[in-house]
Amino acid sequence: MPAGTDIAKSLKEAVDRDMAFMHICGTHEAAIARAGLRSLLPEHLKIVMGPGCPVCITPQGEIDAALELAGRGCIVATYGDLLRVPGTKGSLESCGGDVRVVQGIHKAVGIAQKTDSDVVFISVGFETTAPTVAAMMLTKPPENFSILSCHRIVPPAMKWLLEQGEAKLNGFMLPGHVCTVMGFAEYEQFPVPQVVAGFEPDDILLGLLMLVKQVKEGTHRVENAYPRAVSREGNVKAKRIMYEVFEPSDVEWRGFPVIRGSGLRLKEEFSQYDAWKKYGIMYKHVAKHPACICDKVLRGIAQPSDCKMFAKACTPRTPVGPCMVSHEGACKIWHMYNVRKT
């Protein structure tokens, strides 16, 4: 990766103390692992993955709710990433129900238009997918269609991490595509160095260098290293549509307690499309597998290779925890690129 060597060299020169930054994006983790970026970083500089994989942070209680819908005979439409995530009793892939993988919610609505059966879209994801779901809600889908909203938004989780302090972070690399939609103005409330970064190895190294510089200057601000897609205000139309349809709710994340205002539920006027209400499904907290450390990985205080089950009892074919399932999960990514201890 010759293009990145200049930035990597500048980074080595700039880092003069222990520094740790968190990114909150599965695509960032995939880019870091694929390019072997951690091996280029100075010894005192650490980049850890936070709760940036939407499938991984979806708690088991929501997977169980999706399985319950499949068990009741609904056609369950989902992104492929969710198929193998273990619930209490099997996964969507193994449950024997009518589960269909779709590119996005519009395809799930298309299924509902062609059947009399009930169709439920498992609506996971951050601020990149939520506006797409909101847009379809505004097109008045048929009566046999509903969504199981499992959305999460990033800033409340960052606030929790900062208040909690266990991960000892010097700053954040902000998720490029979430910021493409939302902009970065709302991150200016956090008094820590932050840089919006793109997804090329050079983008990420540049983002890290900008973070290191802020730490050394003793300042904090939000800088934009991904201006080709991100602006301060983001996609105003998409944000407006998202908040026309959804309102914030207090929800649990996998590995985290209930975080105030960190979820999105359908507003009252869209309740006919709310599968939680339509089918009277109650969310139940499920205790995690005792040996799985996905919770610690998601909070940035452990690495996949710290787990006793990593690449042994837990593999992409036989995942125990969600981080081994999704293409954006840290454990799956580390397994794929054969990353061991760093």
Binding site: P54, G125, T128, V181, R228, N235
Partner: protein
Amino acid sequence: MCVAVPAEVLEIKEGNIGVVDYGDLKQEVRLDLVDVKVGEFVLVHVGFAIQRLSREEGLETREIFRQVYAAMEE
């Protein structure tokens, strides 16, 4: 799920649907979240255009994707 790919808008149909060109692949996507014209570039995510890109940005990002895919095939 979070991959977003740049594409050129070739045609705009009724009902917020557009035909876009990723370079080697043409596909219908939803345009509900953006105001675009034919010839402009958009970033496509889960079948929806989520942001407008300038033409240079679109072409540049597409070239980056092409290089990444070429590298993956090696």
